[in-house]
């Protein structure tokens, strides 16, 4: 089954946490702790999932084919248990579409002057 052939639209809108996970995985594969740190950093601490919550979301994203387990990245790591995650092609497309969707919403909000006088 080719992931690129799948229709990304049923996955939209993404939950806040899922979107942030996809964003955190944008550049390089990462393990859970690093993803958590990255999300906390990007959201200025506003989004800080619990360990359980994060792995729940990761598992769902893996099941949905948006994220996959990466082969072990860090050969120096003695701990072979550690799982790395990376974006699939489908995941990347879903993230892009979600960003586009949000951007459109923001534009509409701007037009309606929902951001106040400064907009």
């Amino acid at each position: 089954m080719s992931a690129t052939g799948l229709d990304p639209t049923p996955f939209l809108p993404l939950s806040n946490l899922s979107f942030h996970i996809l964003l955190a995985l944008g550049d390089t594969p990462a393990h859970g702790y690093a993803i958590g740190k990255e999300i906390e950093r990007r959201s200025d601490g506003r989004l800080n999932p619990t360990t359980g919550g994060l792995y729940q979301a990761l598992k769902r994203l893996v099941e949905d084919g948006l994220v996959e387990h990466a082969p072990e990245q860090d050969s120096r790591s003695s701990d072979s248990r550690r799982k790395y995650f990376r974006l699939t092609a489908l995941g990347r497309r879903v993230a892009t579409l979600e960003a586009r969707r949000l951007n459109e919403l923001v534009s509409v909000a701007r037009e309606r002057k929902l951001f106040g006088d400064s907009a």
Binding site: P10, H31, G32, Y33, G36, P49, T50, T51, G52, G53, L54, Y55, Q56, L58, K59, R60, E63, D64, G65, D79, R81, R82, K83
Partner: protein, 917 residues
């Protein structure tokens, strides 16, 4: 690895194995790393918050995974094609996550709600576990509902008297009854066990061999008694309790067949009962006013050929035949009583007396009812009390939820406008309230566990079955039920308040009118709260007054720790007659009198508050008994010289007992003032001759030589029992024995410090004697008041919690009102009202709510305290002092609670307030 990491790893087991295999290790690692971060960066509070949040996240995730596992093992891509059922379930798990998030964002609200609920639920769980174990659960015997207590009323003697059983009636009933499958008699005795280590004073139960059949309990080893076993003529058999077998004989099975010495008699050990077996159990023992546990059982042999009808000194229990009710049995036994004259042709005179004069009638009570009868009401009242506390707690939480619901009315209306079904909203709020209630119930269970431990440790000794109290499945079910009701109730509040879509959406910014509508609900809640609190305050106030009255009753003796008491018993083998025992005790009194600080020493067969002990109708010389009327029953004791001084009982007339009275067996007796008034009203009793027996007087009337003050036999609340004090020995050896005695040592400032010296003196006189029940008269009186004190303390705590919650409730509503009326208050102030006017206005509003609540509460209390009548002592349930006092207390608390928002209102800046409007 820290404890939390360890815990985290354990809790991971809740996830499905596949999930755990894939991610478990990483999760533990990540949690560990985060915990290390948190440890280095956060305050203790922050750490606790982090840990709680992580653990909750873990649990929510586990629930989510499990539900997914049940509903669908397919991937999420199929989600849109899944059935409604799985959508609902997925929704739930999401809902739980979201609700947890919302609650976490509002820690103040969450904490307040959970704590309030846990107080209410915890108190209810604790008291219910007591009610469940004591009142609801079965006694620990097979088919225990068939067990009945056999008792007899004798309205001809005294309407309150219960005569229990006699060996004669045992023979009579066993031979003829069709409703009882078996009857057993038993009585307690204190005995000294020797021959294995130090002499030990033990409680033994003397029972007919039929007791084994009645109770249906098999021995742990060996056998129970048979019809042929004996305990007379210096030989006999004995069955040991599991406790005695392990503590005294080291759990050695070889003890079966060995001989032990009890009161100097050699007894062969034939059986050991299981550890779970207690008979009589603590409850029945409480009724017999003895706090020790039976350590061994010895056979009571009743020969049908030689039984007399009289001597109501033993206790009886029986087992009903299957399908027979206690009432049926009672009717049958009443019928059997009328056959007494033909069954006992040799004792026809006594049979006639029992039937015609005493008007004996049978009482057959289910054993459980007999055991818990007098505390059942107290416990139900306590459960009702904590139920009120839960209601008050719920009212507070409801108020909190209303505040929250109002801030979310808009959200709810938008959700509905966007097409959310009502079911979705129910789910939304039910999730939140269930989580809150669940947390409250969890914490409440913890509190209840501690509470039950405390109750068992500090509860009164005469509260039956206290040892059986525990938190079990039924209690958990009760807590679950209560919590479900509470959570359903809380779900309803925001729904009722927040589903009117159009009205809410058009209502934006115009808070005041809708605010007043909601205010009515909150006013009703807070008024109810005040009313419930007042009822609790009245209840506990009445208990407090009763206890106070009870404490101030003059018991008629020295109820202080200066007087030490202990029991000891002389073996009849070494001291055959009462006179021998009297000589021993006389010497003991003299020896103990030389100890430092000792003012006086005395001995008696039965101290005040230790029960009726022994009693008989009292005949007066020269008075002919009218046919059909027996004289009143009086309690009989044997006492030594020095007893009245040691006990602090005042001599009113004549003299007290002297040494010559028992040494020369003068037949002198001393009577209590109550006896003198009953039998010799307006006459001088000194020199009159009496005899405590319903039988014709065969030898030697007793001469009254003195009158002493009244002391209570059973209860501090009934101080004037008629008592007669005989000397330790008299010409007539019938009646009570002087072998088992309670010794009193009055030594101001010394008290229990003397016990070591006392023990040495007793040991020096007879090394085979043991001391038992060492306590002071202060303890004796405190024990007697323990149940009232217990009820008072529990109701008092409930009332305090209620008062606190009620105060918080009033504060909440008034603060809300002030907020709602900010604009109006601003206008008033702008128009010239000064701060004190505004202050008074707010206070008046609080006052109005409180007054209505108090009014409702007073009428409620008037109705409900009717249930408490039996618990009160010397206080009317409509006692005006209590009603006025607690009302004032509530007013004061309400005033304090209102004063905070009132001050805030008075400080409102009119310009600010108007701008806000």
């Amino acid at each position: 690895m820290t404890f939390v990491t360890w815990l985290y790893e354990r809790l991971l087991k809740l996830y499905p194995a596949s999930f755990r295999r894939t991610y478990g290790g990483d999760m533990v690692e990540m949690f560990g790393a985060r915990a290390a971060d948190a440890w280095s960066q956060l305050s203790p509070l922050g750490l606790a918050w982090f840990t709680g949040r992580e653990l909750l996240g873990l649990l929510a995730g586990a629930a989510d995974q499990r539900i997914r596992g049940v509903v669908s093992t397919e991937g999420r891509q199929n989600r849109r094609r899944e059935g409604i059922w799985s959508r609902l379930m997925t929704g739930w798990s999401q809902e739980i996550r979201h609700a947890l998030g919302r609650l976490a964002k509002n820690p103040g609200f969450t904490l307040a709600t959970v704590l309030t609920l846990s107080l209410g639920i915890g108190a209810n769980t604790a008291i219910f576990s007591v009610v469940n174990s004591v009142v609801l659960s079965a006694l620990p015997y097979p088919d225990s509902e068939e067990l009945v207590w056999l008792d007899h009323a004798a309205p001809g003697l005294n309407p309150d008297t219960r005569l229990q059983m006699t060996p004669g009636l045992y023979v009579h009933y066993r031979g003829r009854s069709q409703t009882l499958s078996e009857v057993a008699l038993w009585s307690d005795l204190e005995a000294t066990l020797t021959g294995h280590g130090d002499p030990t004073r033990v409680t033994a139960t003397r029972a007919t061999y039929t007791l084994g059949t009645v109770l249906g309990v098999q021995p742990f080893a060996g056998r129970w008694f048979t019809e042929n076993d004996r305990y007379t003529d210096g030989t006999g058999v004995v069955v040991l309790s599991f406790g005695l077998w392990t503590s005294h004989f080291g759990g050695d099975p070889a003890v079966l067949g060995r001989t032990i010495q009890l009161n100097g008699f050699p007894l062969e050990v034939v059986g050991i009962m299981p550890a779970s077996f207690t008979f009589p159990n603590e409850a029945m023992r409480a009724l017999a006013r003895s706090s020790a546990n039976t350590k061994l059982w010895i056979p009571s042999v009743i020969d049908p050929a030689t039984q007399t009808l009289g001597s109501f000194t033993t206790l009886g229990i029986a087992r009903l035949k299957p399908g027979v009710s206690a009432k049926d049995a009672q009717r049958e036994l009443d019928g059997l009583l009328s056959l007494l004259p033909e069954a006992f042709p040799g004792q026809i005179e006594q049979a006639r007396q029992i039937l015609d004069d005493a008007r004996l009638s049978a009482i057959v009570l289910p054993l459980k009812e007999h055991v818990v009868g007098n505390v059942r009401q107290t416990l139900w009242i306590l459960l009702g009390t904590v139920g009120f506390v839960l209601l008050i707690a719920c009212a507070n939480v409801a108020n909190l939820l209303l505040v929250r619901a109002e801030s979310r009315r808009h959200e709810v209306a938008v959700r509905r406008a966007l097409g959310a079904e009502r079911a979705d909203l129910v789910r939304f709020f039910l999730t939140e309230s269930s989580l809150l209630t669940l947390a409250g119930a969890g914490l409440g269970l913890g509190l209840a566990y501690l509470g039950v431990r405390t109750l068992v440790a500090f509860g009164p000794e005469d509260l039956p079955r206290l040892g059986e109290v525990s938190i079990n499945g039924q209690v958990l079910a009760f807590t679950g039920g209560v919590s479900s009701v509470v959570s359903a109730l809380f779900t309803a509040i925001p729904l009722v308040r927040g589903t009117h879509v159009v009205k809410t959406l058009t209502d934006v910014g115009r808070g005041s009118t809708a605010g007043h509508g909601r205010l009515l609900v909150r006013n009703t809640l807070v008024t109810t709260q005040v009313a419930l609190t007042l009822v609790l305050l009245v209840g506990s106030g009445l208990m407090l007054r009763s206890f106070w009255r009870l404490k101030n009753v003059d018991p008629g003796f020295t109820a202080r720790d200066d007087v030490v008491t202990f029991q000891t018993g002389l073996p009849q083998g070494t001291y055959p007659a009462n006179a021998d025992a009297a000589a021993f005790y006389q010497e003991l009194i003299e020896r103990l009198g030389t100890l430092p600080g000792v003012e006086s020493v005395g001995v008696i067969t039965c101290i005040p508050l230790d029960g009726w002990c022994a009693g008989n109708p009292l005949q007066v010389e020269g008075r002919v008994l009218k046919p059909g009327i027996l004289p009143e029953v009086v309690a009989i004791r044997r006492a030594s010289p020095g007893y009245f001084e040691a006990m602090g009982i005042p001599l009113l007339r004549g003299r007290v007992l002297e040494r010559a009275d028992h040494e020369e067996r003068t037949g002198s007796v001393v009577v209590s003032a109550a006896l003198a008034e009953t039998f010799f009203p307006g006459e001088d009793p000194i020199g009159r001759r009496v005899y405590p027996s319903s039988n014709p007087v065969r030898s030697g009337w007793h001469t009254i030589v003195g009158v002493v003050g009244n002391v209570p036999a059973n209860s501090v609340s009934r101080p004037a029992d008629p008592l007669i004090y005989q000397a330790m020995a008299s010409q007539d050896e019938r009646g009570i024995s002087s072998h088992s005695m309670t010794v009193l040592v009055r030594a101001p400032g010394q008290g229990v410090n003397l016990v070591g010296l006392i023990r040495a003196e007793v040991g020096a006189m007879d090394g085979s004697l043991a001391l038992a029940h060492i306590r002071t008269m202060g303890d004796v009186v405190a024990d007697a008041r323990a149940q009232t004190a217990f009820t008072m303390v529990l109701m008092g705590i409930s009332a305090l919690v209620a008062l606190l919650l009620g105060g918080v409730g009033i504060y909440g509503v008034i603060a809300y009102v002030v907020n709602l009326r900010r604009g109006e208050i601003g206008i008033r102030m702008a128009l010239g009202a000064d701060a004190s006017t505004v202050h008074r206005m707010v206070l008046r509003q609080g006052g109005a709510l409180t007054t209505i609540g108090i009014g409702l509460g007073l009428s409620g209390a008037y109705g409900l305290t009717r249930l408490m009548d039996a618990l009160l002592f010397d206080v009317s349930r409509t006692d005006p002092i209590t009603y006025v006092g607690v009302s004032l207390l509530l007013v004061a608390v309400a005033a304090v609670a209102t004063s905070f928002p009132a001050r805030k209102a008075a400080a409102i800046d009119p310009i600010e307030a108007l701008r806000g409007e």
